[in-house]
């Protein structure tokens, strides 16, 4: 079989869509992080706007509800001076039976320049990127269990901000990894940036052995998983996983894998604690840790806006 070109890069290797972090050249990742750094100052000014996307229309297509992520994309697009249209499709056209591609074709006819897509099915943004007009750019804002690349990039920005050098780090990703698009994007990004020790921590129902093929060390023991870590990324445990065949209860999960001050003490003294939010206090993370001095959960949110500005301005500047 022919290997097809990575659909998010053009013939010059430039980013035209952001669909996944997997397969991105390190230079592309680093450049987005550098660009995000320059946007941070914009966000601290009185007039928080730059004209990079003036006159462009950014459509937020959320086939799955997420007020938070949608809001951060909206803020990022507006700070780039784009016009933003929010479509909560989970409750509109597809509910009336319109197909995904028909919805996209209709919106393209309204002269969209960029689609920010969230969908419950892995790979949906690829389908959209393959079928939209050549001038339209697609940003994956989370697809099924597959990828959440802007979250991955903002996590990398956060790590770089606090730790500088990726090549000496031990990073533990803890919790429901099998269902987590954030975990997949983080694992790819950490690998691309040269992190030598990536650990996936959780029970066997949530951390399958196949993950080793992504270059991680699988740990089913929490103490082993976070001992000596520089960075701990806690994942959100979805409500529907808290009882059933995956886990017996949230309480038992917290007992084994919840991040408490005692467990955090096993990591390096200057370890940082991250979480993509929204956090479940007392399920995956103790409030004392979430609000404690090692937590960088709120800086993650701040950096998230700058990173999304960097992603949108980067891809808008590259032609298919």
């Amino acid at each position: 079989m022919l290997s097809r070109r990575n659909p998010q890069l053009n013939a010059h290797g430039e980013l035209i869509h952001l669909l996944s972090i997997e397969g991105l050249p390190r230079a592309v990742v680093t450049q987005i992080l550098d660009t995000a750094g320059s946007f941070l100052s914009v966000n601290e000014r009185d007039v928080k706007k730059v004209p990079l996307l003036r006159g462009k229309s950014v459509f937020n297509l959320f086939f799955e509800n997420s007020t938070r992520t949608r809001t951060t994309f909206e803020i990022a697009a507006k700070r780039l001076s784009a016009d933003v249209i929010n479509l909560d499709i989970a409750r509109s056209s597809t509910a009336k039976g319109e197909s995904l591609l028909d919805t996209v074709a209709n919106l393209s006819a309204m002269h969209a320049d960029m689609f920010v897509v969230r969908h419950s099915e892995s790979g949906a943004p690829y389908l959209i990127a393959q079928h939209c007009a050549p001038h339209v750019h697609v940003v994956n804002a989370g697809d099924g269990r597959h990828a959440h690349p802007t979250q991955g990039l903002l996590d990398m920005y956060t790590i770089r901000h606090f730790k500088r050098d990726f090549t000496q780090l031990s990073v533990a990703v803890v919790g429901d990894i099998v269902h987590s698009r954030v975990a997949r994007s983080d694992i790819h990004a950490l690998g691309i940036l040269g992190v030598p020790d990536i650990r996936a921590v959780g029970p066997k129902t949530l951390v399958p052995g196949d993950l080793r093929e992504m270059g991680v060390r699988v740990c089913h023991d929490m103490a082993e998983g976070i001992r000596g870590a520089d960075v701990i990324i806690m994942l959100r445990l979805q409500n529907e996983r808290m009882s059933g065949a995956m886990l017996p209860s949230a309480g038992e999960f917290f007992k084994s894998y919840g991040l408490t001050p005692e467990k955090l003490a096993l990591a390096k003294p200057d370890a940082i604690v991250m979480h993509p939010g929204p956090i479940n206090r007392g399920v995956e993370i103790d409030s004392v840790v979430a609000d404690g001095p090692q937590s960088v959960i709120l800086p993650q949110v701040t950096f998230g806006i700058a990173v999304r500005m960097a992603v949108m301005s980067t891809i808008a500047g590259n032609a298919a």
Partner: protein, 435 residues
């Protein structure tokens, strides 16, 4: 009509015949194989110099989508596809709408197919009513209407008691039961468990979905002695279990699809919905074991697993896309490709799509059992004439099938396929000719 096929390389897998000679056909029968007597006055002569004259292909798994799913495929287009692929007999599956669980539906389907006279049609009846896995169908009535066996297609019977009763009942009459070994719960994912599914975030189907079902089925075959045909094996472990079951003497046979024989989950690439197939594509070692199993006879037959899927059912995110690919027109070429890869004699390669599937069907073919899938004097003239040297690139829009989705399109694979059908005869009548 009297037809002479001259100077072709006549290959009959069942007898081992492989020689350049002639064939004489009168009415629906082969009347002579060998140098033709001057008395034979052909009304039409087909010059087969440089071509292979083989029995028409027998495909044990094709969905024609009639009745009920005509937007995906029609009897006319799909039987035309069969003829274009050199397939002269095919087994169609009962998961239509309505399900083939009533004799009247089977009779209607057979009648419509006969009128088109493109390909012989052998329906499988549903094993349980509406394929629900609860109540048995009227198997004797359905057999009288033309069913050659009973199947659940892709709907596993979750209730083991019902499954045992179904096998007991079928074996009372000597009917064969066609089952795809798949555990009802473990089989729910959209891609094979493994590194690719994990990386892409697709829900996985573990190998155990197949092996657990095989263990259950073999145990039930030991108890009931029912004749079971295992459809679409997908894993190396499954092939091993089948090999052991055959060595033990259990009355089981099996097939593999052209897709599982040539592809792996890596071919899913960036969520290519053409690779959304049932069973899901597994890993390289599985594919290799399937290829070896087909070569050494552990797996009896190669099938197209033809399933025309409409454009709008494929243009969906991978997990939501309808599984299936068009295959009737690719069966011969993909069999030849496999045979070339394994350096098999042509007769052995062709046996997996001619005489072996006929052996699987056995008595269910009735009077055809002695000559379908073979070239014998006095037997039916179901013949496929193909050019073994021709290489062709699959252009999906040029296929006769209404289903234009195939994993083997040239644009996707960059791969040319060997062997091109020139003429297909069904019951001594030309059903297809490539111009």
């Amino acid at each position: 009509m009297k037809i002479a096929i001259r100077n072709g390389r006549v290959v009959d897998p069942a007898s081992g015949r492989d020689e350049v000679t002639d064939i004489a056909i009168a009415a629906d029968r082969i009347v002579a194989i060998g140098a033709l007597s001057p008395d034979f006055q052909a009304e039409r002569t087909l010059d087969a110099a440089g071509l292979v004259v083989a029995p028409g292909l027998v495909d044990l798994a094709a969905r024609l989508r009639e009745p009920g799913q005509e937007h995906e495929g029609m009897l006319e287009s799909e039987l035309q596809a069969a003829a274009a692929g050199g397939v002269t007999s095919l087994v169609c599956l009962p998961d239509t709408d309505p399900v083939l669980d009533e004799p009247g539906l089977v009779e209607m389907l057979k009648f419509r197919a006969r009128k088109l006279s493109r390909c012989r049609l052998f329906p499988l009846g549903a094993l349980t009513r509406s394929l629900k896995g609860e109540a048995l169908t009227e198997m004797a009535e359905l057999t009288e209407a033309g069913c050659v066996g009973f199947s659940q297609v892709d709907v596993p019977v979750a209730d083991t008691l019902v499954l045992m009763r179904a096998l007991q009942y079928a074996s009372t009459y000597g009917y064969s039961v066609w089952l795809r070994p798949q555990d009802a719960w473990l089989g729910k994912g959209v891609a094979a468990s493994g590194a690719v599914a994990t990386r892409l975030g697709l829900s996985g189907v573990p190998v155990a979905a197949e092996t657990i079902a095989l263990h259950t089925l073999f145990e039930l075959v030991r108890i009931t002695r029912a004749r079971v045909h295992l459809c679409r094996l997908s894993s190396a472990a499954g092939v091993e279990l089948l090999r052991a079951a055959k060595a033990e003497g259990l009355p089981v046979t099996a097939d593999v699809s052209i897709n599982s024989l040539h592809l792996t989950d890596v071919d899913i690439g960036y969520f290519n919905a053409d690779m959304r197939l049932t069973p899901p594509l597994r890993q390289g070692p599985d594919r290799d074991a399937l290829r070896r199993g087909l070569a050494d006879g552990t797996i009896d037959a190669l099938v197209s697993d033809h399933n025309p899927v409409a454009e709008d059912m494929k243009n969906l995110p991978f997990g939501e896309a309808e599984p299936g690919a068009t295959g009737l027109e690719l069966l011969l070429s993909l069999a030849l490709r496999w045979g070339e890869d394994h350096r098999l004699p042509l007769a052995q390669t062709l046996s997996r799509v001619t005489s072996e599937p006929v052996r699987v069907l056995g008595d269910a073919l009735g009077s055809l059992a002695s000559s379908a899938g073979r070239l014998v004097e006095g037997g039916v003239a179901d013949i496929c004439i193909f050019d073994p040297q021709a290489q062709w690139s699959v252009q999906p829009h040029e296929l006769c099938s209404q289903g234009k989705h195939t994993p083997f399109g040239f644009e996707a694979t960059g791969m040319a396929l060997p062997g091109r059908v020139r003429t297909t005869l069904v019951a001594g009548t030309v059903a297809y000719e490539r111009r």
